[in-house]
């Protein structure tokens, strides 16, 4: 069964600084990868997804993620964060079959003015 590890539970960062949120998954077989964002008191929203093709995936709000098959990683990056990026971010993985998504435990990003 797939598993997802988000290496940092909390990441504080100053406004306009770059940020990287790390995600590793367990299996080296072909997978689909997702990042979701959860703002306070809301549900999860899709930020970006990797299905195939280019390993660099661009999402909403200036975020991007890079798929690295050899390291089984899918780290999320933004070159300059804003206060409004303060939220919890979840990495998720699914295999090529009809199994549900498996989520990581989340990383809370706090942007400091």
């Amino acid at each position: 069964a797939q598993s997802v590890t988000q290496l940092d539970s909390q990441v504080p960062v100053f406004e306009e600084a770059p940020v990287e949120l790390r995600c590793n998954y367990s299996s080296s077989v072909s997978v689909y990868l997702f990042w979701y964002v959860q703002y306070p008191n809301q549900g999860l929203q899709l930020l970006l997804k990797y299905l195939s093709g280019s390993t660099l995936v661009k999402g909403i709000n200036g975020f991007e993620a890079e798929f690295n098959k050899s390291q089984t990683s899918f780290h999320l990056r933004k070159p300059s964060v804003h206060i409004s990026d303060t939220a919890e971010y979840f990495c998720a993985v699914s295999d090529l079959g009809n199994t549900p998504l498996v989520f990581g435990k989340g990383t809370r990003l706090s942007v400091i003015a």
Binding site: G43, L44, L46, D95, P100, F103, K105
Partner: protein, 114 residues
Amino acid sequence: NAGVTQTPKFRVLKTGQSMTLLCAQDMNHEYMYWYRQDPGMGLRLIHYSVGEGTTAKGEVPDGYNVSRLKKQNFLLGLESAAPSQTSVYFCASSYSGQGGQPQHFGDGTRLSIL
């Protein structure tokens, strides 16, 4: 567009009481899911459905039952609530279960059991 709607948004129960959480989606999605979210635990899948009339167990199904009598609705029931079921519950739906299909989430139901 409503998307995924969860009812109620908040509820406080006493231990032993029962209740049903309702999830409705208007996107004609085949798959629907119930998750619980607890601090430091991420989202854990309780039950899911691959179509009308079907249900399947997820990672943490004990103490919960579900029904999918209509394609657009997915009900989560607690027959005898326990304090360990205090959590935020999220419903989600997807067009299909094929890998790569994103899930669409509701805004959650905050449930406290005293």
